[in-house]
C-alpha cells in the first residue's frame, strides 16, 4: 500500500515536471505515451494547464474546445508522417576535429627537424670532374649559387 502511494506520488510529480519541460527526453516520451493512453491523466494535465493560464491572466474560454476539436479529428484520416529530426551533427564534428588533429600530428611528426645536416661525403675532385664532363651537354646556363663551388671545365681541358 505504502509502495502504491509512493508510486502514485511519483507519477504525479512526473506529469507536473513534464508540463514544466523539466524531464529528460526519454522520460518525456514515456509521459506523453502515458498521457495519450490515460484519460484521468489527461484531465489532470488539462487542470495544470488551466492553472498556469489563469495565473497568467488568460481567459478560460469554452471548457469543451479541446473536446470539440478531438471529435472533429475523429473524422480526419490519421496523420502518418514520421518526423525526420535534423541529424545530430555533433559526432561528425568530433570525428572531423579528431581527423584534423591526427593529420596535424602526422605532418608535424614527419616534418624535417632543425637538426644538423648529415655530413656529406667529401667529394673527390677527380670524380666530380669526370661527372661534369660526362654531363656537360645537359648542363644549363644558370647563375651559380653562392654555395656552389664547382668549377666548370671543358672536355678539351680534360683531354689535355
Amino acid at each position: 500500500m505504502q509502495r502504491s502511494v509512493q508510486h502514485t506520488q511519483q507519477e504525479d510529480d512526473t506529469l507536473s515536471a513534464f508540463i514544466d519541460d523539466e524531464l529528460s527526453e526519454d522520460m518525456a516520451r514515456t509521459a506523453i505515451k502515458r498521457l495519450a493512453a490515460n484519460r484521468p491523466e489527461r484531465k489532470r494535465h488539462a487542470e495544470y494547464c488551466a492553472i498556469g493560464d489563469a495565473m497568467r491572466g488568460l481567459p478560460f474560454g469554452q471548457a469543451d474546445l479541446t473536446d470539440r476539436v478531438m471529435a472533429a479529428l475523429e473524422k480526419e484520416p490519421t496523420v502518418l508522417a514520421p518526423m525526420r529530426r535534423a541529424p545530430d551533427r555533433r559526432p561528425v564534428m568530433w570525428l572531423a576535429a579528431a581527423t584534423v588533429a591526427a593529420l596535424t600530428w602526422g605532418l608535424w611528426a614527419a616534418a624535417p627537424r632543425h637538426e644538423p645536416p648529415a655530413q656529406v661525403a667529401a667529394a673527390q675532385p677527380g670524380n666530380v670532374q669526370a661527372y661534369l664532363a660526362a654531363h656537360e651537354d645537359y648542363a644549363q646556363a644558370v647563375d651559380t649559387a653562392p654555395d656552389m663551388h664547382y668549377t666548370r671545365v671543358s672536355l678539351t681541358e680534360l683531354g689535355k
Binding site: 504525479d12 510529480d13 507536473s16 515536471a17 513534464f18 514544466d20 519541460d21 523539466e22 524531464l23 529528460s24 527526453e25 518525456a28 516520451r29 506523453i32 505515451k33 498521457l35 495519450a36 493512453a37 489527461r42 484531465k43 489532470r44 494535465h45 488539462a46 487542470e47 495544470y48 494547464c49 488551466a50 492553472i51 498556469g52 493560464d53 489563469a54 495565473m55 497568467r56 491572466g57 488568460l58 481567459p59 478560460f60 474560454g61 469554452q62 471548457a63 469543451d64 474546445l65 479541446t66 473536446d67 470539440r68 476539436v69 478531438m70 471529435a71 472533429a72 479529428l73 475523429e74 480526419e76 490519421t78 496523420v79 502518418l80 508522417a81 514520421p82 518526423m83 529530426r85 535534423a86
Partner: protein, 199 residues
C-alpha cells in the same frame, strides 16, 4: 528539455499516428490562441469556431511542419490566417487595433492586454476560475506559493527556482506539484466536465 523540444516530441507522436497527443497540444495552447483570435474576431461564438478551425487546419498541415520554427509560432500564423479568412468571408475588415497588435510576419507578441473574451457564460466561468485560482494561491503555504509563482508567472526553470529559494531541485519539483494539486482541488468544481467527454 526546452518548451520547443517538448512540443516537437508531441508533434512526433501525432505524426506517428497518435491523435490523442494532438489533444495535449490543443489543451496547452487553446487559451493563447483564443485570446489571439479575440483581437481580430469580435463575435464570441465566431471566436471559438475560428479557434477550432485553427487546430483542425494545424492537424491537417502537420506533415508539413518541419520544426524549423517553434510549434506555437507556426500555430500562431495558422490562427492569424484563419481569422483573416473568416473576416474576409464575412466581408469584415480586420479591426484597426488588431492591425497593430497582430502581425503575421512577426513572432507572437506575448505582451497582451487582458480583455473580456467570450460569451457571457464563458466570461462568468473565466472570472470564477480566476478567482478560485487566486484564492487557492493565496491560501498556499509560503514555500509552495513562492515556487508556483516563480514557475508560472516568472517562467523560471526548476534550477533557477532552486537557486532563488536555496533548496534542492527535487524539493522545487515537489513543491510545484503540491501547489498545483492544492489549486486544482479548488478549481475542479468549476471546471468539472461530464463523464462522456471524448478528451
Amino acid at each position: 528539455m526546452s518548451d520547443r523540444d517538448s512540443d516537437l516530441l508531441l508533434v512526433e507522436q501525432v505524426r506517428a499516428g497518435d491523435k490523442q497527443a494532438f489533444g495535449l497540444l490543443v489543451e496547452k495552447y487553446r487559451r493563447k490562441i483564443v485570446r489571439l483570435i479575440s483581437r481580430m474576431v469580435r463575435d464570441p461564438d465566431d471566436m471559438e469556431d475560428v479557434a477550432q478551425d485553427t487546430f483542425i487546419k494545424a492537424y491537417r498541415a502537420l506533415p508539413q511542419f518541419r520544426g524549423e520554427a517553434a510549434f506555437y509560432t507556426w500555430l500562431y500564423r495558422i490562427a492569424v490566417n484563419t481569422a483573416k479568412n473568416h473576416l474576409a468571408s464575412r466581408n469584415k475588415a480586420l479591426p484597426t487595433v488588431s492591425d497593430q497588435a497582430v502581425n503575421d510576419d512577426d513572432e507572437p507578441d506575448e505582451r497582451l492586454v487582458a480583455q473580456e473574451v467570450g460569451t457571457p457564460e464563458t466570461e462568468l466561468i473565466s472570472k470564477q476560475a480566476a478567482m478560485a485560482v487566486n484564492e487557492a494561491v493565496e491560501a498556499l503555504p509560503e514555500e509552495l506559493r513562492q515556487a508556483i509563482i516563480l514557475r508560472e508567472m516568472e517562467g523560471l526553470s526548476y534550477e533557477e527556482i532552486a537557486e532563488t529559494m536555496n533548496c534542492p531541485i527535487g524539493t522545487v519539483r515537489s513543491r510545484i506539484f503540491r501547489a498545483r494539486e492544492a489549486i486544482a482541488a479548488k478549481l475542479r468544481p468549476i471546471l468539472d466536465t461530464p463523464e462522456d467527454r471524448r478528451w
